[in-house]
């Protein structure tokens, strides 16, 4: 690609814009820029004219008016009297909840299945293959609907727990009740409630939560200090001080003290009236959506994990065995660190897919961002342009955050080539 430099004194002619390599790309870019701008202007102009024709305006004011509808799962306090904005935030939080839970569970299940497919147990490995193929090759929407339907059909209704000889009984020492509406799990309760920190907008954090977070984060930092101290001692003297009990202590003792101070205990749900109260009722729409997303994405992650493990050449594991490493240590110390480099990039896109796929929540009536802002709010206010633009931007920001966060992680595990 060595360009023969043009004589410096060559006068500029118009045809050089097309024929001269130095100017051609510039010309081309300018033309494209003009075309893109023109297209953008055309779209915006059309939108403005259409809005005028329909007598509508582009105005986000509707976000501050009363929503008027109830949401079944509210991570922050919300009633029908709140604004559409707050309803949208509730929806966004619900999206985040199912996405985070789904990513964690899908990763765990995907790794298990992916490794199991390489298992020596013929039957189990085949079964896992069947699992992967079945879930990968049918639409997610089908799985969401099926899992939800299974939950409602198989689980007993709450009133099956009623009476002296109930048809159903709670599991985990009478602490968890599976019903066809929700899974009722115990909540944490305190006898000495220290009150809450009010962040405004009726968002509160209990001081106890903050105390636990501080204790855990502080403990983690102290643990790091202890470990680095042990390392320097080892480097200097060759003897590594015993650290495990110190680590255990800094991580657990503060929390145990806090539990005792606040009088933390589980409060089991109990049946009152129509429903279980006292515990936390996790709605089946969340559980079903979460499960379906998990199963579907896990099938893809399993393939990624399997491909990653297979990509590590056989010599690596043979060398590890020759060194006398046991199979699980071979896996942990030799194969997985190398496989991770292959696994992580496609894993990121699976996380992104899961987050985006959570927008199918509406099929089971889980009120996520698409169900609140892009569903009921859009429908009640008729502001489709604003609602959809806002919704797309939110998803976009979410995706960008996930992918940039994971890219940072990827850069850390990547092979450092020097």
């Amino acid at each position: 690609m060595t360009d023969v430099p043009a004589p410096a004194h060559a006068p500029f002619r118009l045809s050089m814009l097309v024929n001269d390599r130095r100017y051609r790309s510039l010309t081309f870019q300018v033309i494209v820029f003009i075309l893109v701008m023109a297209a953008g202007w055309w779209l915006i102009d059309n939108t403005i004219r259409n809005l005028a024709l329909m007598g509508k305006s582009f105005d986000f004011g509707f976000l501050w008016s009363r929503a008027g509808y109830d949401i079944s799962q509210t991570p922050i306090p919300y009633t029908a009297d709140d604004t559409h904005l707050r309803a949208s935030v509730v929806g966004l939080l619900n999206t985040l909840i199912v996405a985070v839970l789904g990513c964690i569970a899908a990763t765990v299940l995907g790794v298990i299945v992916g490794v199991s497919r390489l298992s020596k147990s013929w039957l189990f490995a085949r079964l896992m293959t069947v699992f992967v193929e079945i879930f990968r090759n049918m639409p997610l929407l089908l799985w969401i609907l099926i899992v939800y339907a299974i939950f409602t059909e198989i689980m007993p209704p709450p009133n099956a727990y009623r009476g002296d000889d109930p048809a159903a009984s709670m599991i985990f020492f009478d602490h968890v009740a599976l019903t066809n509406r929700y899974t009722s799990i115990p909540t944490l309760a305190m006898t000495n409630d220290p009150g809450s920190l009010d962040l405004g907008a009726r968002i509160t954090f209990n001081w106890a939560t903050i105390a636990f977070v501080v204790a855990l984060v502080g403990g983690w930092f102290i643990r790091r200090a202890i470990l680095s101290h042990a390392q320097t001692m080892q480097d200097r003297t060759g003897d590594r001080p015993v650290t495990w009990w110190k680590n255990l202590a800094v991580m657990t003792v503060p929390s145990l003290v806090l539990i005792w101070v606040f009088g933390l205990h589980f409060e089991a749900p109990s049946l009152q009236g129509f429903n279980f109260t006292g515990g936390l009722n996790v709605s089946n729409s969340l559980v079903a959506l979460w499960l379906a997303l998990t199963l579907y994405t896990a099938a893809f992650i399993a393939e990624i994990v399997r491909a990653g493990i297979l990509s590590v050449s056989r010599g690596q594991s043979e060398a590890a065995f020759a060194l006398g490493l046991r199979p699980n240590r071979t896996m942990n110390l030799v194969i997985l660190p190398q496989a991770l480099r292959v696994i992580i990039p496609p894993l990121i896109s699976q996380y992104l897919n899961l987050t985006k796929n959570s927008s199918l929540a509406i099929a089971v009536g889980y009120m996520d961002l698409r169900g609140t802002l892009g569903g009921t709010t859009l429908n009640q206010t008729g502001r489709e342009l604003e609602a959809i633009v806002l919704m797309m931007l939110t998803y976009l920001v979410l995706s960008l955050i996930i992918s940039s966060g994971m890219n940072v992680f990827n850069a850390r595990v990547k092979l450092k080539e020097r």
Binding site: M54, T152, P157, R181, V364, G382
Partner: protein
């Protein structure tokens, strides 16, 4: 080359499908005439109101209105293209001109009439929101539903009514949001909710299809007014008139005893001046809206008068078995009251 072929395909599709149409405000009638077809927005599938059968032919209460309108305007009840719309796309489909009239059991409310720029042309079904519960629950009134779990379709006015009703009565409830009527039935049957709430007509239709309808009761409280009716766009009053008076013609026909069976005879022999004007034997009422004199005759002939449509699609003889109730003629103690044809 390849790309241009593909582009060409798009162009060809546009041409072949010949769906492209230009529309400016105020000329819906002309467009419909030119297209020789009425685009009618209906539900994607609701028992008794609009549903395609095994051959793709649409039937139902709302569908019958569309057919009557097509017969009035175009002379043929089959010149209708049914555009299935969801709860979310229905009003946009109307305001963007994708459909000429929306007959999708939509409630006539203040904000829809004003803010969404729709014109409801009348009421073809007076509905109200009710509750259905299982008989074994032992509940006899909606006031006893404090703390209940209630299945509700998202994105409808019922969602707002429910919230209002429980607030007004200082009761608590847990909503189970569902996407479609079919999901709702399935949830309710499995006991995932104590009560299912939607329009009373929908409840009746749902209950009728259960294996044992007797073990479910519809509670007496009707917590909202749901006047369902066809809607058209703001700004085209002539088209609005045609839609309104087609509906009125169907209602008035029942009032005057004009049915699809005796209509030909009445055209010849009726002495009632109101009937004569309705059927276009005297006065040229049709011309005032840009139609011919026999428009109402054709509309009634398409599926019969309001009473016949009701009986054929949702009446007591059908599996849905709805009583006329509020939807009886005003002379029979109902609310149906067609404005005079004069």
């Amino acid at each position: 080359m390849k790309k241009s072929v593909f582009l060409g395909t798009v162009a060809a599709t546009t041409v072949l499908a010949s769906m492209a149409m230009a529309q400016e405000g105020g000329a819906t009638l002309a467009q419909v005439m030119e297209r020789d077809e009425l685009n009618c927005g209906v539900n994607t599938g609701l028992v008794g109101f609009a549903a395609p059968d095994a051959n793709g032919n649409w039937t139902g209460f709302d569908v019958a209105y569309c057919r009557a309108l097509a017969a009035a305007v175009l002379g043929d009840p089959d010149k209708v293209s049914f555009v299935p719309t969801t709860g979310q796309t229905r009003f946009t489909a109307l305001s963007s001109g994708e459909v000429d009239v929306l007959a999708r059991n939509s409630t006539w409310t203040y904000s829809r009439d004003t803010d969404l720029a729709l014109d409801f042309v009348g009421v073809n079904y007076y509905d109200g929101q009710g509750f259905m519960v299982s008989r074994e629950l032992g509940v006899t009134s909606a006031k006893e539903l404090d703390g209940a779990t209630i299945c509700i379709q998202t994105g409808t006015t019922t969602e707002l009514n429910l919230a209002d009703y429980f607030r007004a009565n200082q009761m608590d409830y847990t909503p189970v949001n569902i996407d479609s009527n079919a999901e709702g039935e399935q949830q309710y049957m499995a006991g995932a909710c104590d009560a299912y709430t939607t329009d009373a007509s929908g409840l009746a239709a749902t209950r009728a299809a259960f294996a044992d309808p007797e073990s479910h009761i519809i509670l007496p409280e009707i917590i909202s007014k749901e006047p369902l009716g066809p809607a058209v766009r703001h700004g085209d009053n002539n088209w609005g008139d045609i839609a309104r008076w087609t509906l009125n013609a169907l209602i008035a026909a029942e009032e005057y005893g004009v049915t699809s069976r005796n209509i030909e005879e009445l055209v010849r022999s009726s002495t009632n001046p109101e009937v004569q004007r309705l059927l276009g034997t005297t006065d040229e009422l049709g011309a005032m809206m840009g139609l011919d004199a026999e428009w109402a005759r054709r509309a009634i002939l398409a599926n019969g008068n309001y009473g016949e449509i009701f009986a054929a699609n949702i009446g007591e003889q059908t599996p849905i078995g709805l009583a006329r109730g509020l939807n009886a003629q005003w002379t029979q103690g109902g609310l149906l009251y067609a404005q005079p044809f004069r």
